[in-house]
Amino acid sequence: MELVVPARAEYLQLVRAIVGATAGLEPSMDPGRVADLRLVVSEAVSNAIKAQASVGVADPILVRCEPSGDRIVVEVADHGPGFDAGSVPDLPPVETAERLDHESGLGVSLMRRLADEAVVESGPNGTVVRLTLGSRGR
C-alpha cells in the first residue's frame, strides 16, 4: 500500500490512521505493536515534513506500508536536504537542567528503539526511512 500525502502537519493524523488500519488487516499484529507503529510513522513523517519545509520544497511525502504476516515494513520518503543519521547528537542526560533546553531531538532515537529495524538512506535529493516492526512487542 502506498500513500502520497501533502507535506502538511494536518495530514499526520490521517497517515497514522491509515497505517494503523493497514496493520490491523494483519490478525497477528499485537494492538500495542500497532500503537508503536503509529508512533514511529508519526516521527518519520513529521521529520519528512520539517525537512522539506526547511528548504521550501512542497512535494508530497510518500508512505509505503507493506504488511507481510509476522511483520510490517513502512517506508517514508521525502525530498528534503538529507542528513547523516549516524551523527544525530544525543540529548543531555535527563537529570541535568540543560535537558530542558531541548524541545526536540527525540524522534530518530524513538524510531530506533521501537522498530526491529530502522534503515535511513539519505542524500542531497532526500531521505528514505525504512522501518520494520515485528507483530509482537520487543
Binding site: 499526520l12 493524523q13 524541545e103 526536540s104 527525540l106 524513538l110
Partner: protein
Amino acid sequence: MRLDVHRSPRDDRVVLVLVGELDLAGAPRLRQAVVAEAAAGERHVVLDLTAVDFIDSTGLGVVVGALRRLRTHDGELSVVCPEPRLRRVFEMCDLDRVFTLHGSVDEVPSERETA
C-alpha cells in the same frame, strides 16, 4: 478535530484540559496556551492529558518546553496522564524522570506542597 485546549482555573492553579492528538499539528496550540499562562503570571499550570489519545516526540517536546517556560517565570508545571499507552511514550524517552505523571487532576498536590 486535532487538538483542543480547554482552560479551567482552580483556586491555586490553572488546568489546561487537552482533547485530541498532540503532534506536529497540535503542538502550536498547546505552546500558545502555555505562553499565555506564563505571560499572565500563572504560577501553577496543570496539563491534563487524560483525553489525549496520541502523543509523539513533538508533543513531548512542547511539554518539556512548557516546563522550562514556566520555571523561567518561577512557576511550575504538573502533568496528568493516566493512560498507560501515553505514559509509555514518556517512559521511552526517560521523561517520566522529569515529570511526575499524575493519575488525575485531584491527585496533583498544590504548588506549596510540591515546592
